[in-house]
Symmetry: C2
Subunit: 428 residues, 2 copies
């Protein structure tokens, strides 16, 4: 393969002609394909049919402690659900609150609470002139949307192969008291797929924040979402590291079973220090009487324990692995050596991160859309939806059946090639 | 029966002696009874076993519109769940959002959102010097706890037999731009059991608020919670009344199935104008991807339609009616004519409101506790937990089995009598 940048104007024009024809042909197919969001596919959901027998008319609805899960109460969650989520988070059940169906909702409420009531007695953020969050980029659009809604200034932190640029993180956190948080997806990161190295986690744990209400928002959404049995990323447990450094109040850990059982009908949890937990409890006791304990019971009875979750996720991996491998193969085959794009090849998670030539991402996503392939909006992986390089595209291969994924990728690579050729010609 | 106030000092001392003996005797029984919270009893919960077969491994998990309820999406709720809740709220499905398991949580978030983001573009309340809510008293302690947490000043509005004192409500709402809301439980009110008259609802709908972001928080928690088939209260539908008066944005209607199916595992909804709904949607789309659609589906499939809910609630009534009648009989028999207490005799809802002689409620509740009967804290039915008369006690007869309820009431009446005698002697 010859790099596009080495082609002459005439060669590029010839190529443009050919690609335009391929693109028009693709558009003519009238496809409707979706690679936009990190949704489980139907095959994954069908696999879980037994879940719906977990609670049935003959079930005992009492928790191990004798709590009737059909009635009010247990604000922190039933003990066995706290244990299940705690084991998944590698933290003690005493440090866990099980909430409702959405870890995003927990994160939103955590920021929201800080805005109005502060953090463990600090000044409410809405009373401050300026509040800032650090945002490793590219990152998760829904994180950035939360801080944007609350008018919190977001600062881009470049992501490296082993995590965020920690020199920058330390510089900001340790010196600027307006910096109150950082958004992290530390394992199989959304979208880059990388996992933070031990060194990065240790540097996080050793931060000396200028703001006493600075917290690390540690969204371990893909904790157990490995693609391979024998090629799994390991993530150092951050809470214990923070404790070692006298920083145990500095981290909120979030997780959910949204992509383990059912998106929208899973259970979500927060893991944090006793002090944080007591403060949060004192606030949420006014917000609700308790979350859905029957759904907690369903999850506990279905999985029995954390080993049950791990075994279950191997079945997910068997479905998802071929999809990720197809993405890698297609991109390698069609774009390898052309110098017009690079992409991640993650060991887990829900995304492949693609970087086009600078200034091409919006065009590519727009062209895909016109040809019936819905991608995550270009720029979405940056705060304020502004990718300064207009380069990053998040590919979500999990939802479409593999045949549709294949069709969608065929169109995607045509769009990448055509947009790149157009750009090279424009820049000449 | 002779009124206690007409007894001589000697007669009172004699009575005190007798009651003290009865009280000591009661304490000696070492009972542990609960009349504190509005919880359904086990018999009600057991009745619903079939609910747990509504979704099973063989179910079709698609909504009528073909939405896979096991996956992400449908922020406003699946259409048939919006319809079910809309019919219960006598409003159009287009005006309804189905949320998670708790209407309290919707109310909390609604106030919280107004604090940080304002209401449909108004100034965020956290930027104002003063925000006030009107609180009909006695009322629901958890409402008052929300406004207290956010530092909103609460103003007591006396409850009359047909609803809040509307002269006062009009005076405040129409003149004071700091008044942003009023808490209402308009039917079988918590705790007084009264239902707002048509006249009161019409006066609400005709308010001319000084604040454009004033809203009525209409918590119709006991909408279908009748005790009798042929003696039911009717509540005029407020949203249509507001529309007639060009005030359609003025009301938020809240409801849930917490006391229809399962507390903590029901579904809750908000009904409001298109303008309010669009604003709220634009905010919550950042907070969550969607609520639990499988639980929405369970509810729709279980009840089929609003008639299904109504039929179901007759079974609840059959369980609850004897409990409420027992309360009335015991109080009438033991306290009737003594002039030391009055109480409500509601046609529905979850509570009986008891008014002791002024200055006795705390003492009575404390004495009950000492004898093993847990009541709602005295004062709880007032903002800041301050009952200016120290008189109102909320009796929650639904949770204990009827034998235990009977025992608890026996102790309660002893405590009422003894506290009253003590007070009369003190005041002599």
């Amino acid at each position: 393969m010859k790099e596009y940048s080495s082609l002459s104007k005439e060669e590029l024009i010839e190529l443009q002609k050919k690609l335009n024809a391929e693109y028009e042909d693709a558009k003519g197919k009238g496809l409707k394909l979706n690679m936009a969001r990190g949704l489980p596919g139907a095959e994954q959901l069908d696999m879980e049919a037994d879940f719906f027998n977990t609670l049935n008319p003959n079930s005992n609805f009492k928790s191990d402690a004798g709590i009737d899960c059909r009635n009010y109460g247990e604000l922190l969650g039933i003990q066995e659900a706290r244990k299940l989520m705690a084991d998944m988070m590698s933290i003690s059940p005493d440090n866990v609150i099980v909430f409702g169906n959405s870890s995003l909702n927990i994160m939103y409420d955590t920021v929201c609470r800080s805005m109005i009531l502060g953090v463990c007695g600090s000044t409410p953020w809405c009373k401050l002139d300026k509040v800032k969050f650090l945002c490793p980029v590219p990152g998760y659009d829904r994180h950035f949307a939360i801080t944007e809604q609350f008018g919190i200034e977001m600062i881009n932190i470049p992501m490296k192969a082993d995590g965020p640029d920690m020199d920058m993180v330390e510089e900001f956190v340790n010196n600027d008291p307006a910096v109150k948080g950082i958004w992290c997806v530390p394992k199989y990161a959304n979208p880059t797929g990388i996992t933070y190295s031990d060194e990065v986690v240790k540097r996080f744990a050793k931060l000396k924040p200028a703001a006493k209400d600075f917290r690390i928002y540690w969204d371990n959404a893909y904790n157990v979402h490995h693609l391979y049995d024998n090629n799994q990323d390991d993530l150092l447990e951050i809470f214990a590291e923070c404790q070692k450094n006298g920083n145990e109040d500095m981290v909120y850990k979030f997780c959910s079973t949204s992509k383990i059982t059912f998106p929208g009908s899973g259970i979500a949890a927060l893991g944090t220090s006793k002090k944080n937990l007591d403060f949060i409890k004192s606030v949420i006791t006014i917000q609700t009487i308790g979350h859905d304990k029957l759904n907690q019971l369903r999850h506990v009875r279905y999985f029995k324990n954390f080993d049950g979750i791990k075994a279950h996720m191997k079945k997910h991996a068997a479905i998802l692995r071929p999809k990720f491998e197809l993405v890698h193969e297609k991109l390698e085959k069609e774009l390898g050596g052309l110098g017009i794009g690079s992409w991640s090849n993650p060991h887990g998670g829900y995304f492949v991160s693609f970087n086009s030539m600078d200034g091409c991402a919006k065009t590519i996503v727009g062209m895909c859309k016109e040809a019936g392939v819905n991608m995550t909006g270009a720029g979405a992986t940056y705060p304020y939806k502004k990718d300064p390089f207009d380069s990053n595209i998040r590919i979500a291969p999990t939802f479409p059946p593999i045949e549709e994924l294949s069709q969608a990728l065929d169109i995607f690579v045509i769009c990448v090639k055509l947009a790149s050729v157009n750009k090279l010609l424009e820049d000449m």
